[in-house]
Symmetry: D2
Subunit: 361 residues, 4 copies
């Protein structure tokens, strides 16, 4: 049943497995005339790719995109754009273990329950490899949002294990600050501790979870639909569609559970230009699910990598108890590489709602 | 731009404002032959309606549903079902304040930014009144899930302010335990404290937030789609589409940020019947976004009611500073009435994925 | 499975049976600020309703619409609009025949094959009664198209039996010419013959088919999408979704089968204002499925009414040969009442593509 | 605005231009376990491709498909399938004429009106080249329909110019009869005349139109949805989404305009096995838009090829009168190559409704 399409007016459809020929995305709804080349796609693909630093997986995936359709003379034509990213690291391996045993925390068992069989090589369609296609599409959305509305979308690591970054103004964080360290945490002191922690857990053949924070600035007030397609609903779906995300919160998030209305309500006031704004942003940039003009701020809880090189207890496909140690090279912590994926999904949602709003006003 | 439809194969479309003639839902995709009458809709509407207890708003909305189409001889026909719930408490009131001033925490400002004007009476389309239509549709989904798969969906209050209920086995909670107190918390001791706290904040013309927990039992393994339409993604969208929800988490939720892979991974093992299960459920009933057969467990962070009867600072439509005290009768805490709304949305998602899975196997 | 929603950006969802409480439509995607009242809906509903003249069915259905949502202070709010048209002619009747026997040409048999049972009263959901909801929604689309682009959409009877109207300039036909006779044929001489023929077949307890022609003027060049959502594809679906339509053609239509390219190609040339147009319109106003700026012209072949008051041979639900004479009052010819239905569907498609185009330019 | 996706439950999304790198289709919703390889795709691609016989265009497009995703160990996995067909005949040419002048009958002008500019090489996205992707996807749908329901779908040439084939039993026509001549008309005598006529018009630097007939046998009763997604509506959209189709009709088609109800109604009767059928099939296999179990029969009117090698009058992009003779190799008649395109679209619709029906019963 179709579940590989996302978005209403800016719409992406993907296909691809981790060890098949490649990953493909068709982006439908991009307005004509946007300058676009593979160079626009490379930067975020590079931030997403394995092997980029010592604290991520050392797999080598060059992730070279090819634009197959929808661009002519360096500009989008308005018709559907197709991008192919071939898989290159398809080394012949022994998949017996992963074929017959269910890796804890992975989708092996649920895929079998759903389909009756599965492409077991490296997780197949359930591998995070498919996010390469999303990141390529997201790069187009980002460029469109930037050119039309000056919108910037940035993601960074807010927390790894017990180490929480101190970030006073999420909307003031820059890409340079984020990219200053391989862990992508703009608080340099926390970043140092996070890197040490990640190296420690890797040494212990273990993994560690964390929290990613994402910020979109310059989103005009008025985007999002009142009921089901609230901006927070579409962003929530976008984030939860990414692997390993177990929680999403906006603005004050779960802290609102402890708050009084008098504490939590953001007060409307005129800004310096006389426009209406709120003096605080506990609401996370959306009221009634519609953007308020304040920065959109969300956080995702990311679980520790399920793949561990140490032995874990599990069962075979027929239910016999056994153990499995996942061979191969895994991220000891998913957080550093999550930023470009989260940014891409945020961009897809915002580009969709930008065009949806354009249709009615 | 259309945003009032939800679901792919079991699909609802709604319309209605808080002070217009009524709220309407069309439910498309209900299989033929399901016994259905207004009695099936009344129970959850009653749990949702204002005025049901002393700790919720005292507005009177009898919420009497009328089935306008799709049912014949007491059974669904397979064609679209329409349900109308007329608004009855449409007393002539003075809306001058709400017309000209932006209520903090509400969607008044963002609706104006989006549409240029708005139905200001009681929030119009942004009012939680529209959830009556969802609850009616959800009752159909619940019945279908129960009859086909013996699935039960229950929501209850997990936290109000600092008071956290102690619930060892979410999947063992019963409707009777939930409905035993007006706060809908199945931990009797916590319930008592929560009620006292809610009465206290009401006395102080204030409001309080909380956390709602929702559990679906007997969901078979294999529901949900691999990439964008993960079950956790569709449930996340469903929950965030409800008013006042600022956070959603599954299973271990935000706690995974602090965990190691060795701590967090649930271990596969045969159950007593020899089927494959996991010995713990930190994953919340979904792996790779597909149901695992374990109970699906999620929590929503609900902000304190934005409407306060005490004066709050704000601005007029033209940006002039002013104050507003929201007249009328409001819930001092949204949690008690949230359970049926959350259950309804969870049921809509599960019914959709039940039918989606039926199409392929 | 959902099949009661139509359109992408201007989207309608309907429910209702011929002898249930009423017919309902939710219109999602109407931009805010359009002046709208029930008066805007009445005119086309009146043209569609039974009993309006002596050559149509004499059933009485006042078709009074009620706007339940989406309009405030006389203007659309931008949120979903709901319209209810209650059924009033629900006289208690003997439905034994129609319950147990399959009416030739009707959907009784196919509904049973699909759903296992059906609402047999007057055809239930398969009755043309459901088009009342479409006509109400179409009236909104028409108004929007007129106000934004000065587009007019008119349908009329081109042929009944062997009588073919002579209409030299379809784009010059006026509503007054169409409404001048109850048969809705703007060629007065042909209209007279058609009326006589319809009365003759009615006297013979028979029915007669025909062709309806529909014209949309002032549609700007550039609407429609290149591949699947070609304007001719969406219009084709719209027309074939109406009961009794067995053929649809544009411009030269089936005549192109006999033509050479040199005969059929319309020549581009500058018009009097220097804009680009074609000197002829055999292409029917669309090239590559995208509007060319020329009038959009299509024709629908409508079969003779299946219900006949004379005995017809058929079978019972269990397959036993029997006969049936459909009691009740039927149109001897569906053509006169088809015009408003066809116009409504054409308007829904054009309004959808108007908004779709607005999103990208 | 997205218009490159087709279908609800069996869904295809395409991208690609005639002279870009290639054409791509993502097929979403194919159930798991269907045996599939590129060999399954080749047969229909071969029937569609240029250069296959002397009466079609002599362009060389080998149309070699590559399956990029969704197939593992020779079977579909249930996740999205991607197919790429690279363009190989991308010879460097002089496109000055087509860049600056509007070819009569083509979409050059309407694309410019829509997007402001266009990929002018060979028609870009408006070229029939994009149907290669549809034919590849249709081959999957055909195989699924055959394996699950023994459904066969065949298209053939019914008419070219004034030459009409005599085909008494459309449902008895075989692929062998169709493929016996390069014109794909199963009436050998008519085929001979058609070939002669096509060669004649080619010799005259002209082109000729025709009618294609398509037949689906063994479709069970009960497929299709009652209102908007009638089977005839979805098939109608499918056919009109193909280039050059100006008319579609089912069963008796436009002939119903001249018929009486007593003549046109098909009589229900038990068949030899006691099942319910109709003794004639003027209804074309659908009643109320739902399949009746009789063969589905439709016809498409195809216009003569617009590209002519003789000079035609037209205008430049700036509106100046000029002439154009379309260089390159064109089909003098589109009919022979239409069959596989029409079959593919019919298969996509039927596969979609097969799965949609599976979800509810």
């Amino acid at each position: 049943m179709p579940g590989n399409t996302f978005g209403h007016t800016f719409r992406v459809t993907t296909a691809g497995e981790s060890h098949g020929p490649g990953n493909i995305v068709i982006v439908d709804g991009v307005p004509p005339g946007l300058e676009l080349s593979v160079d626009d796609l490379r930067s975020d693909l590079e931030r997403r790719r394995p092997g980029q630093s010592k604290i991520v997986t050392q797999r080598k995936e060059p992730d070279e995109p090819e634009i197959l359709a929808g661009v002519f003379d360096g500009r989008t034509t308005g018709t559907s754009i197709a991008i192919l990213i071939r898989n290159t690291d398809q080394r012949s391996r022994d998949y017996t273990d992963i074929q017959d045993k269910y890796r804890p925390g992975h989708a092996d068992f649920t895929f079998d329950a759903k389909y009756g069989f599965r492409d077991y090589r490296g997780g197949g369609r359930s591998s995070a490899r498919e996010t390469a296609a999303r990141v390529a599409a997201g790069a187009i959305a980002k460029k469109l949002l930037r050119e039309r509305c000056d919108i910037e979308i940035l993601g960074y690591v807010k927390q790894v294990g017990d180490i929480v970054a101190s970030i006073e103004q999420p909307e003031a964080v820059t890409l340079e600050q984020i990219e200053a360290t391989p862990v992508r945490c703009p608080d340099p002191r926390a970043a140092e501790s996070m890197i040490a922690l990640i190296e420690k857990v890797r040494g212990e053949q273990d993994s560690i979870g964390g929290v990613s924070e994402l910020v979109a600035t310059n989103v005009p007030a008025g985007w999002g639909e009142p009921v089901f397609d609230k901006l927070k609903a579409d962003l929530g779906k976008a984030m939860f569609s990414l692997p390993a995300v177990l929680g999403v919160e906006y603005g004050a998030g779960f802290e609102v559970a402890r708050m009084r209305g008098t504490e939590n309500n953001d007060r409307f006031a005129p800004d310096e230009q006389g426009s209406i704004t709120t003096t605080t942003n506990r609401h996370g940039g959306m009221l009634g699910g519609i953007s308020s003009g304040l920065p959109i701020i969300l956080r995702c809880a990311i679980k520790p990598t399920s793949s561990l090189s140490q032995e874990q207890q599990t069962v075979t496909r027929s239910g016999e108890p056994t153990t499995i140690a996942t061979k191969g090279r895994h991220d000891p912590c998913l957080l550093p590489r999550f930023a470009p994926m989260g940014e891409a999904m945020m961009a897809l949602v915002l580009a969709d709602h930008m065009l949806r709003q354009a249709a009615i006003r």
